[in-house]
Structure formats: C-alpha cells, structure tokens
C-alpha cells in the first residue's frame, strides 16, 4: 500500500497532469500509482476526475477554451486507459449501462464523446452508437442491451426534431427507460416538451453537467460505503 504522503503526491500529479493537459505525465502518474499499490478507484476519482472538475471550472470561468479542454480530456483518457483494468466495480446501487449517440443527420460528436468519457470514468457500461445514428437504432440498442439510460445528442435544430421520435418510440417499448438530451439547440423546455427525463445544458456545458453527474455519483458511492461501514 502507498503511504499517505506518496498517495497525496500521486493524486496531485494525476490532477495536475489533467489540468496541464500533459498526456505523458498522466500515463506516468497512473503507472506509478499502480506500482505503489494504490487503489485504482482512488487514483481515478481523487486524481484524474478531480483535475477534470477543476478544468470544468476553468472552462466555465473562460480561462480555458475548447482546445485546452479537449487536450485535458485526452490526458484524462491516457491515465484512465492504464488504470481502468484495475478498477474494482463500483457498487453504486444503480445498474450502470447507457446507450449514447448523436441523432440521424448530425455529425457533431465532441460533446457526446465528452459525456461518454464521464460515463466511462464512472464505471458505466457505455454503448456508443457514434454519430449520425438512424433513429430506430437507439430503440433497438436499448432493447438489446436492456440499458437504463439513453442519451441523445444533436447540434442542429434540424436534426433535434429526430429526438422526439426516438423518445416516443422508446416510451412505447419501454416506459421505464431514462432519457437524457444534450446539444446546442436543446433546452430544458425542449426536454420537457419532448418528454425526456434529463437535459445537459448545451454542447459546451455538457462537460460540466457530466461532472455534476459524477459528483453526485461520488456522493452516492460515499453514502453506500458509509452505510456499509455501519
């Protein structure tokens, strides 16, 4: 086991690697953490994700722009790839499996990919359908994988309308599935009107929303652990 001092040092290293978008440092830190026998979950959530949270804050404060944010995400993935095989499955009390994709006619998938990454980090099983996904495909995939969450993304108003059809079809087949929307033209109003359960503000804020999701997941995880401890 790593000593407390070493643990703090490595967490700071991972966190800074993400903030400084340094892929090499991220890989190095992840490998070191494993060599030291650190818990992979600890390294991911308190190191990499904590860095990404700071990046989200900097992005919101307009200290970082799109390129920096994307490079930070790349750095996070570089470390995550090394740590992930060593992750113990989190017991979140929720079954984590999600279908995600950008709807038919739309090829914009940066926001979708970042949201996907956060699900990856949180230990969800992610079925990524990619971009320009035929509308029926969402329903098919949901039925096939029995996922409890479907995330739809669109960047243009012209393709956004396809979401309504997906939601209607999903509801017909499976009334219990949760549906989240995201993308530039989507708003809470649209999400309500279309009958979705959740909404990620817009493409650039999707990261922040995904981070909020992770934060609440972390909280749930802590609560579950606290309950176990009792």
């Amino acid at each position: 086991m790593a000593t407390d001092e070493k643990r703090t040092e490595l967490l700071a290293k991972l966190r800074n690697a993400v903030i400084q978008y340094d892929e090499d440092a991220s890989k190095e830190g992840a490998q070191e953490a494993l060599n030291e026998g650190m818990d992979a979950n600890d390294a991911i959530f308190n190191g990499l994700v904590s860095g990404m949270e700071e990046v989200g804050r900097m992005f919101e404060a307009q200290e970082y722009f799109v390129p920096e944010m994307l490079m930070c995400a790349d750095a996070l993935y570089a470390g995550l790839d090394i740590l992930k095989p060593h992750v113990k499955q989190l017991d979140l009390g929720v079954k984590g499996s999600v279908v995600i994709g950008t709807v038919e006619g739309d090829v914009h998938d940066i926001g979708k990919n970042i949201v996907k990454m956060m699900f990856d980090v949180a230990g969800f099983t992610v079925y990524d359908l990619g971009r320009d996904v035929p509308l029926e495909k969402f329903v098919e995939e949901q039925m096939k994988t029995d996922s409890d969450l479907v995330c739809l993304s669109a960047m243009m108003t012209t393709t956004m309308t396809g979401m309504k059809k997906v939601i209607d079809d999903l509801r017909k087949k499976n009334p219990n599935v949760k549906i989240m929307l995201g993308g530039a033209p989507v708003s809470q109003d649209v999400a309500d009107k279309y009958g979705a359960d959740g909404y990620a503000k817009d493409a650039t804020n999707a990261l922040k929303d995904a981070i909020n999701m992770i934060a609440s997941l972390k909280k749930m995880k802590d609560e579950v652990e606290a309950r176990k401890a009792k």
Binding site: Q20, D22, V66, P67, E68, L70, D74, N113
Partner: protein
C-alpha cells in the same frame, strides 16, 4: 526566448524554424493561440521525418509550458491520431499557412511549401501558443517566377499555373481531382500511390541536395 528556442530546435535536427503571428488567420476555437512555432524537417530523412517532428514538437511544448504559456501542438499531417478528442480541431488548421506566415517559404505552383534552401522537400509541424514570440517576416509572394517545370512534368496535368500570394490564399493551384485520380491509377498499376514528380523536379533546393548527397551515399 525566440533565439534560444530556435537554436535548440535546430541543434536537435530541425531544418528551419520560424515564428508567426497568426492574428486574423485562425478560426474561433483556436484564435486565442495566435502565435505559431513552425518547425520544418528535411523530408529525405524518410521514416525518421515524422518521429523527429514529433520529438521537436514535444520539446517546444515542454519549453513553452515551463515558461507558463499555453500550447496546442498540431502534429504532422501524416501522423494524425484520429482517436483523440483534440484531433477534431486539427482540420481547422493548415501547416503551410503557418509556415508562409513564419517566412519559411511560399506556396509554389505545385501547391507545396517551397523554401529557398530546401525547395518542396520539407515536412511540417506546428505548435500554436499564446507566448509573445517575436514573429519573423512573413513570405508575401511566390518566388517561382517563370519556372513551369512542375507543370510540364505533372503526368495528370493537375497544376493550373496560378500564382500564390499571401493576400490571395484561396486560389486553385492544383486540380486535386486530377492529382488524386492519377495516384489511384498508379496505385492500381504498381502498388505505390505516390507520384512526387512535382517535388523531384523543383529546381529550388537542388543545389542543397547535390551538395549533401555528394557527402552521403547516393540513393
């Protein structure tokens, strides 16, 4: 800072290093990183070209970051890892634009970057940054003059003969369709897609080659 960085890159094997002020030349997402370090490497290093460029790029990024500046490294065109998030942004950017802005060369009739010393035999990588680097004088006009060798030798008559200048960057120099279809035919007949005649024939930089190849083993 300029001189140090330039000398360091040159000593590590760069052929030419230039600095450019790209204000007004970049799209929104990357507009805040308006200085560019344009790194050119001799293409005749073959397989080593790309790895050298990547190494020089990493060095530049480390240098600038350690001074507290931001960087966005745009990798050489032949080494674009499409799986990263940031690779989506690479298509917003053109290495040749940075190289001409940094005064490394001009865009020849064959559509390639031509340097007075190396001709079209350079491979490029760029690091965008917000460091206040002193820009080099940009190249404003083509120095191809009346030379039409690449037009004559092009097997697919793809080269239009139009002349590039910095004020008219969007102009058809090469009919890409013709060039591509020739490459496809060539791939079908002898398995190698690359034609490269417009590179080989360019008189710029030939002296440099002859001088260096006299020393090295002739290929």
């Amino acid at each position: 800072m300029n001189i140090e960085l330039r000398n360091e890159l040159l000593s590590l094997g760069a052929a030419v290093v230039g600095f450019a002020d790209l204000r007004g030349y970049l799209t929104g997402e990357i507009a805040h990183l308006d200085r560019a370090v344009s790194i050119a490497v001799d293409r005749r290093l073959n397989e080593d070209t790309v790895s050298l460029l990547v190494k020089l790029q990493k060095r530049t990024v480390r240098d600038l970051k350690s001074r507290g500046y931001r960087t966005l490294a745009i990798p050489p065109d032949s080494d674009r890892n499409k799986t990263t998030f940031v690779s989506k942004l690479y298509s917003l950017f053109n290495h040749k634009m940075a190289a001409t802005s940094a005064g490394i060369g001009w865009i020849g009739k064959n559509g390639l970057l031509i340097s007075a010393d190396y001709g079209p035999r350079l491979s490029l990588a760029t690091v965008l940054t917000d460091a206040p680097l002193e820009p080099d004088a940009p190249m404003e006009h083509s120095l191809c003059g009346g030379c039409t060798l690449c037009i004559q030798y092009c097997p697919s008559q793809a080269i239009t003969g139009a002349e590039w200048s910095r004020s008219r960057p969007i102009i058809e120099l090469v009919r890409l369709g013709s060039c591509r279809s020739h490459k496809a035919t060539k791939r079908a007949t002898d398995g190698k897609p690359n034609c490269g005649l417009c590179i080989n024939i360019c008189p710029y930089g030939r002296k440099n080659i002859e001088a260096s190849e006299g020393k090295k083993v002739r290929r």
